[in-house]
Subunit: 358 residues, 4 copies
């Protein structure tokens, strides 16, 4: 008799439902099966349901998860059944050209190829889920850290930190963070941790700007009430910022990033650009292509080495991501949680889902 | 009685003429006056006359020049009257924030602020010209190198080399050079010198593609006859190139650069983007902003330190830029030379102008 | 009648005294004369008096200073008489090869060539002092910052921060700081600001280790009571640290740095190595030269661009260096202060000297 | 009946012999068995026999090899039986912390941990050998390249190129290569390919210096007849070189590297330092630890991504390593070849061994 488990799936664009599925097959020799303890819903899950990666059916959602190792392949050496683990949203092979080149998020020499959960395989919204290359992709959670905190190292922290790391922030330099949703807030915290001397947060939602202040913003701009470029120029005495972080994914924020950044500065993009044939660079703000402005892009970097460093930053109290957890649900209630996330109801930022195994 | 000298000036958009001007005033304490021996006309001079930087009258053109030091300020230590020198198109102060940050081409914290000749002061198409910060901006030409070669270190070599240096070319990596005019050809030569394993040149002018082969292109693509993206994908077995060099300045070439570059690769822009409100990034070719593709931009880097390294590459026969010199004129004939350059007549690539002092 | 001023000078190895000197001559066209408001004594001043740079007579000591601009040369543009300024210990020309290469502390293509105050010219222990290249080397102090704080940007902060910046600290990585005197404490603060996830301070003086805890050390090791290497290995679970900061200047600390650092890690040296023909690298701890361990070295980086970033870190309350100020003196009492610093009496860390102009 | 194969082994320090061994067991799921076509003897094999890594018995030597894939594990995707392959001397796992940090040669968080062949497992001097992580460590040889050339990508080219890549060579900069044995010659070729403007080779063996000229040295110094430091200072007009490459492994060459390198320059060490408690840095030549001189170290970097780039440099005729192949043997004669290599008889540089499968 096949064992089954509860999962939460996409059933065509616009539809989600709870369904029973067979528990995952035996893992490959280097892989693992993990029993979920907690998961989080990401705006990317909503994008997926809205069609961002095309039609999907019976497609288990979720790419942020913690759990307990259930089973490992014969070649797995560093984790064993019973270990408490967190897994990154991105699970590269680490053996292909892109991985060996240092671009593991582009695994398989494909754009975004490292993103497998809820994209090219079933995701983490299930009682059990499969993880490829367990020695590289599973990270043991230290005893002192709970799942509720550790789960932030699955996507929010590595994406936000990666965005800040890609921004060439000079020590004591000035930084503008465009969009302070959960990724933007983690990017803001990271900018502080990387030595930014002045961080300016830009958004239109007052609650998010309040969060920004809590995460250490030195100034906030509500772009519905003020022009962000002229405000940034005032704050920086006409110079513009050293680094801009695009944490929105849209032409308006992207254009502001280019314009807010001084000659010689960097725009680091973490936003998903989902619409249009092209993404426009403001020609003059870009210094007609000759102002030594750099535009970098990235996708959540994975791998246990980086995740252990992020966990260390939590352990040593450099950052507390749990301020972002605005809502808590049991796995039974995931449909309701997902609905709220789709509608961004009740000022939801990050909802956490607890499983029976927690 | 004021001494006068011959100059070649812009007289409003679309107009050029020869005119007499007073010889330059006494240099400031750190500056110098140089007597021209040779100059070259750049497509940027044509852009200027066509209005790229707005109206200018009595405005001496030219930013590529060699000469003999005529006079130096009291604080100048490393050059003296009689020295044979070459001066970069870009002459930064080296004391402002941008200069101290390593972005001297953006001197004065202004986009393109390091560009002074024929922009914010008189240029090199004159019997004598003024150079600011002589110790930093004048480079003595070694005995073994003639003015005809050295003058390439004023703009063509540093711009082309800078473009290649900004492209993060992996050793043995693949490179596409879009546009093989003089800057593109120097960028191509530089890509070879920086360890590129395969260099592909793209243009529509057969003569330029022939030059590209002479400068070491491994493959050429005439984009009027073949689709450059599908050809590049064929050559690179579907992967795209590690680095694309934009040496044109236009949305078509820029878009191709984005699309031709693999995830994790770099587009280095040296082209001047002169038209339109925005410069479009192809959204999907850019990996929706998540493919670890980087876009860098630059303006000809100056300074004697870099120029001496470029001169060394000439001395030790790593590169011979003079293949680009297709036409030669006396200063008396500069009007004719300029006209040919405006019209790109007679397959002109780079015309050199000799002065009486040569 | 020549005006005179009070100065504090070295009179041969081992001797110091107060003497009157003529006030400095008119500055060069790009230089300035500054009237001192505050100064600090550095252990390097003691090294100088002890013979580190050879014999010196009538040699005004001091390289950390703040003041009020008294007079500027004709070409100075960004500071004017009356401005409150701080000047870095290192005052490069910014025009030579080393400066243009990004190694301005090695100005003039000479090791340590950027160090001029109290080395190749008179220092800051005088009522007035001369500053070369004022536009590049004088930094205006923001209104909100007092001289007592700003003076830390002259040497302690840039040296400590430079040491940390040269250490390639991974975000969330582990760092060992060997020697937590004033430079080491600033390096420790900088390591925290640059994202270190765990910082270990090593010294033998309990008071300094207490300071280390106040500046954010996660662990401290008193090497008179514990073996630092085995302690570090315990803390890092046998791996060693990502980065070691040498803030002592001696073979023992240097050797520990090599041994404490993991394969692939970096040792950043800021210590002055004053003795012996050679500085020994422990061969096995260095991985027989094949362990991807890097050793970097540096000298206090100057320049107003960097200093303004350091001042911003003070303004936005990222760091408070004044905990280090253990003693305060009037300029009249500098002999006594210097004596205490030579003997490291009364647990002195940094003594500040106030001038009449303060 | 167990099948056997011929191997060439170390039997205790100082002893080698041919012995029969069972053919390798079935590979793990991600591994492969390769049938040898060619191998090369490295000076490191001689060091091993001389005791560098301690006692070893029945220990198959050799870490440079090409072959034909015989068998692959169930999880191997990119190579299959019959493929012509080359394998790097270093075969990391790519999943551990060091590998994810970019230091795969220090695999397993151990100094030199990526070095497995003839160190922690049997080597390539056998009719068949085992390769771990075949998808990451086996590189298919392009049709146009023979085993005789491809084998140089196993160790000589990646080590030499890695040494040059670690040296921060400025474009057009000056480079000194200390020791022009096979690794040094490849480092020299790499320095040229990376844009060095002037390369100086230092050795005492005239034949090697001749090779250096063939690989593009601009100047050679025989240190038995001339003082290398004063010669380098003459050539560089007293400045020293930008980068020194240590391709010897010894205190004398290492010390010269430090002294020959200008302030702000880099010493890149590839030599194995096999003797003494410590490796001495000349204190004054090192600028008392304050001259911005950097010392980097490395071990042959592996991985198919890099090896494919090296193979591309061969395919596009940027480098021809086969000049180094001075001697050719059948596998039957390997004892004789090894003896010659131990004694460096007959001006041997690199001997190639051909197997029956070739």
């Amino acid at each position: 008799m096949t064992q089954t488990m509860k999962t939460f799936v996409m059933q065509g664009i616009g539809n989600v439902e709870t369904m029973d599925k067979p528990v995952p097959h035996a893992p490959g020799p280097l892989d693992a099966i993990v029993r979920s303890t907690a998961a989080m819903i990401c705006t990317s899950d909503c994008n997926t349901v809205n069609g961002a990666i095309g039609e999907r059916f019976n497609h288990t959602l979720g790419h942020e998860g913690t759990g307990i190792v259930e089973q490992v392949g014969s070649g797995v050496k560093t984790v064993k059944p019973g270990d408490r683990v967190v897994v990154n949203a991105i699970t590269p092979c680490y053996h292909c050209h892109s991985c060996q080149s240092g671009y593991s998020s582009q695994c398989g020499d494909e754009a975004l190829g490292g993103w497998k959960f809820a994209n090219t395989k079933d995701g983490t919204f299930a009682e059990l889920f499969h993880v490829n290359r367990a020695d590289a992709n599973l990270t043991i959670i230290p005893y002192s850290i709970s799942e509720e905190v550790a789960i932030y190292t699955a996507d929010m922290m590595p994406t936000g930190f990666g965005c800040a790391e890609g921004a060439n922030i000079p020590k004591g330099g000035t930084v503008a963070v465009f969009g302070v949703g959960p990724v933007g807030l983690m990017a803001l915290a990271a900018a502080r941790l990387l030595g930014a001397g002045q961080v300016i947060a830009i958004d239109k939602i007052p609650q998010r700007l309040d969060f920004a202040l809590e995460y250490g913003a030195d100034a906030i701009i509500n772009f519905e009430h003020e022009d962000p470029i002229s405000e940034i120029m005032k704050i920086t005495k006409g110079k513009g910022v050293d680094s801009s972080l695009e944490c929105v994914g849209g032409p308006k924020a992207f254009g502001w990033c280019i314009e807010a950044t001084k000659p010689g500065g960097t725009v680091s993009n973490s936003g998903y650009h989902g619409k249009g044939e092209t993404v426009p660079i403001p020609r003059e703000g870009w210094g007609v292509g000759m102002a030594d402005k750099t535009i970098t892009t990235m996708l959540c970097p994975g791998g246990k080495e980086r995740m252990q460093r992020l966990l260390r930053l939590i352990e040593t109290e450099r950052v507390n991501p749990t301020m972002l957890t605005t809502h808590r649900f049991e796995f039974d209630e995931i449909g309701k949680a997902f609905h709220m996330m789709m509608k961004k109801e009740d000022n939801i930022v990050k909802p956490i889902i607890f499983f029976d195994a927690y």
